[in-house]
């Protein structure tokens, strides 16, 4: 166990046990998002797409003029 953090570590490699490729290759558990959180993320996503499209349209328009 690491004396600094209390995390389990391998004495030979000094890598934390969850730092090995074998460990990081295993996916973490999926988070459960509530309805409001999902709606908020979708709203943010839609806003980013719309605003991004506006910036690109303006840029392309300015190229032609």
């Amino acid at each position: 166990v690491s004396p600094v953090t209390g995390e389990p570590s391998d004495p030979d490699t000094r890598l934390e046990l969850d730092q090995f490729v074998a460990s990081t290759s295993r996916p973490v558990r999926r988070a459960q998002l509530g309805g409001w959180a999902q709606a908020g993320l979708w709203a943010l996503r839609v806003a980013a797409v719309v605003l991004g499209a506006m910036v690109i349209y303006t840029f392309v328009y300015q190229l032609g003029h």
Partner: protein
Amino acid sequence: MSRDGQSEAVALPRTPLTHEDLDRAQDRLRVYNARRRGRRWYLVWLLIGPGILAMLGENDGPSMISYTATGATYGLGTFLPFTLLTFAMAAVCQEMCMRVGAVTHRGYGKLVIERFGRLWGWFAAGDLILTNLVTLVAEFVAIRVGLRYFHIGAFASAALGVLLVAATMSGGRYWRWERAVLALAAFNGLFLIAALLTHPSAGAVGHALVTASPFPSGSLRTLLLLIASTIGATVTPWMIFFQQSASADKGLTPADLRHGRIDTIAGAVIAALFGIGAMVAGAALVHHGGGGLNGLSGLGFPGALRGVAGDAAGTLFALGLIEAGAVAVLTISASTGYAVSECLGAPHSMNDTVRGAAVFYGANLLAALLAAAVILIPGAPLLSISLNANVLATVLLPVSLVFLLLLANDRELMGRWANGPRLNVLTIAIVGFVSLSGAAYAVVSFLQVIHVL
């Protein structure tokens, strides 16, 4: 993996070590020995890297051109302290990236996919790939402008950038790559020297920093463009991907968080100093047609600086642009490689061999090749590409920041290293400010273009 479930981690069966594990173990052994022997400064040297690289990587071609354009348009005033504010915002966001990477040992794209699902992961990667490709074009533009000052053509600029990416990737070691790019990034300081050669008034700089005045005037769209562009010059989606993935790749652990913070804050301070250097150098042009300069169509800013402050200032500025573009080509193409391979579930470490992490290295090189091809197009609107690359990054940034905030607050992943309430309030304020700034430019400029405003 669970930070709250240590017994689960202890019970892991020993599996064969990979090339990546062995390389990382070498680096960790040096950190362990430095810590055990109390070699404080050597420990700092070993653990710095991702933070400084992210910050100086973001002092890239379009950012330095954006700072210079702002200085040339408005002189020294509100934008000087505003730039400091944006670097403070960047430090807050990048500290979270470093912490999440060090605690979970996973990159941003990989964590978003695993924790929130493939759809959100690919959205994030899509944003990143789009902004990275546009930004990479702007990096090659910066290299081209810098080299053009020395009468070297566009093809050499494209070849130089691509060769740099290929050369630095060939080592098969994160440590070597990081040190090579850090050495190159040190030359970002040329902007500061160029600024000093313009003999700026210390009183004017101090007055602008303290009073945030004079306030900018003129076209609303130009003002909003430069605000959004200045934010996008400091905090961007690629930095989030890069610093989290690089912190994990470097092998940082929770024991290294203090040094990770030193690395991030030092990076922010150094980058702010050099960024302000570019703005001060630009301000020397304010009474010499600065606002109307098309900095990239000809010799641009370096040539204009030579006319105002002498050959040395122009030469250093041109060399600075080459460095800024080159470092960012390396870091941004690396962040593209991390994002693509993390989302595809492919190996993604610089400690892996080219054959072992073919997708990672392939995406890294392909991004650079695509961007290099664009600057060979004659008559491309280079200044406009540079500024709009930053604006696009600002508009797409809030989504990346919200997911970063969710990850940094995830107690199942982060355990006792999760965000505290004060940091959350600060980060939410940053997300709001960035969102408003990006949206204001996008909406106002769009309405003007379609003749509603």
